[in-house]
């Protein structure tokens, strides 16, 4: 590990991306939400002035993109003000929202504030499933919002998190994005962190489902070429090499959690590592000097098989959080890699879940209920009334 200090200062590149998680409050309760399970513990949200300072400091270092996310960023009444300040500082401003809490007047105010882009997430393409997965009635409203976003000439990204409950609707989902004139479509396979990890048995698709979905996605990619860019990534549980997580730890991504914790990735809060808080230190100090951000920079921290592997500069050994969740040690190789001694355990787990899925469809065996993402369940998790994850 590289110790914190001046010696790393000059060769650390600046962040390009600032992800501002404004709040963990959210009117929806998606069971695949990637927020931490401990959302109930994040009480003290940063003030408007704190956020303005964070944005100024990160911009000065070189961050060019800012994403306002959450939870549901629309919950913050100062969102317009923050967008305006971000745009004024020269950021490309992205709003990542469920659309719940938005109306035409607000879209117009965002436009006046200089917002560049809106991404709306849908849970599914039919009303019943969408509302079930989101835990609220929002489907018609979201569609209406998507139309308004287009009417105001925003580039529109529609994001649909894909999992076993909606993967067989993929054609309908894509039809819906065509109807709504999306400029970009992200069919984002669930990543199994946070809430989706405790619901993985009910959410992980089968290999057969993925193969079928891929054919449909390809068909639409060809059909919509030039009109809409469709991105479809399969869950990394089905790969042999890990993703180059965050393009490297502390390389380009900076996340600020609602309480001001600075993180190299929005999942990293679960690691047994101390991260700085922007209430105590400047963004520059947090990024360049904190032990947390330097923890997995470079290659010195790596263990075998990564350490001597010639692919380490390509994937940086994968995701630290996944290594931690599955092996108990964040410095281990991501078990998605087939060189990892834990890879077989991952394959076994995928098989086990495939059997559960088959039981469900063939024999109508009731699956265990989904744990919805809400403050009540979070409090139970914090109090250990609901089991978190197996390491």
């Amino acid at each position: 590990m590289i110790p914190a200090g001046l010696e790393t200062k000059n060769d650390v590149k600046p962040p390009l991306w600032l992800l501002a998680e404004l709040t963990y409050r959210c009117p929806l309760q998606c069971p695949y939400c990637s927020n931490p399970l401990e959302i109930a513990k994040y009480q003290n949200e940063l003030s408007t002035e704190d956020w303005v300072r964070v944005m100024q400091e990160a911009r000065k270092m070189g961050a060019a993109q800012i994403g306002f996310s959450g939870g549901e960023p629309l919950v913050r009444p100062d969102l317009e003000e923050l967008i305006q300040e971000a745009r004024h500082l020269g950021y490309y401003t992205n709003l990542i929202t469920s659309g719940v809490g938005m109306d035409e007047a607000r879209v117009k105010r965002f436009k006046d504030a200089g917002l560049d882009h809106i991404q709306i997430s849908f849970q599914a393409s039919d009303e019943e499933l969408n509302n079930f997965l989101g835990g609220t009635k929002t489907f018609q409203h979201k569609k209406e919002m998507a139309r308004i976003v287009k009417a105001y000439e925003y580039p529109m990204v529609l994001n649909i998190v894909i999992h076993r409950k909606n993967i067989e609707q993929i054609r309908d989902i894509l039809e819906m994005t065509v109807e709504l004139n999306a400029d970009y479509v992200e069919l984002a396979s669930t990543q199994y962190y946070g809430w989706s990890r405790i619901n993985v048995d009910q959410l992980l698709p089968t290999r057969e489902q993925l193969a079928k979905a891929e054919i449909v996605a390809k068909e639409y990619q060809i059909r919509m070429k030039g009109k809409s860019k469709i991105i479809y990534v399969i869950p990394d549980y089905f790969e042999n090499r890990p993703k180059p997580c965050m393009n490297g730890w502390g390389a380009i991504f900076l996340t600020i959690a609602p309480d001001g914790t600075a993180l190299p990735c929005h999942e990293a809060g679960q690691l047994p590592i101390d991260f700085p808080n922007v209430k105590d230190v400047s963004v520059e100090e947090a990024w360049k000097d904190s032990p947390g951000f330097n923890h997995f920079r470079g290659f010195e921290w790596m263990k075998e098989p990564c350490r001597s592997c010639d692919e380490k500069e390509k994937d940086f050994g994968g995701c630290r959080c996944q290594a931690f969740m599955m092996t108990g040690d964040a410095a281990n190789t991501d078990p998605v890699c087939d060189k990892s001694p834990h890879h077989q355990e991952l394959l076994d787990d995928v098989d086990r879940i495939a059997k559960l899925a088959a039981e469900e469809t063939d024999n109508n065996v009731a699956e265990k209920p989904l744990v919805f993402r809400n403050m009540k369940n979070s409090k139970k998790i914090v109090a250990k009334e609901i089991e978190k994850t197996e390491a």
Partner: protein, 91 residues
């Protein structure tokens, strides 16, 4: 599409073109992404404002950099820029 020198391109509203001090270059920004432009590409994009015709842009570049025959290079870049949707003809 075929480009003519009388066309007056503008930056498409779904993209943003700006100077980035820390990167020391012009960039094109779009949802969750950024492309760094080469010096010559930046010089071309800088002149695209929906008012000037391509013909005028070429002439201006040739005068500014005291060079002749920039037309081919500029046209080649503009083709790419139209193709990726960064620029469009003013409606």
């Amino acid at each position: 599409m075929s480009i003519t020198k009388a066309d007056k391109p503008e930056i498409a509203p779904t993209f943003r073109f700006q100077w980035e001090e820390v990167q020391d270059c012009y960039v094109v920004l779009y949802p969750e992404g950024m492309v760094k432009l080469s010096k010559s590409a930046g010089e071309i994009m800088k002149r695209i404002d929906g008012e000037e015709s391509i013909d005028k842009i070429i002439k201006d570049l040739e005068t500014t950099f005291s060079e002749n025959n920039l037309e081919d290079d500029v046209m080649k870049f503009l083709e790419v820029a139209y193709d990726t949707g960064w620029i469009r003809n003013k409606k």
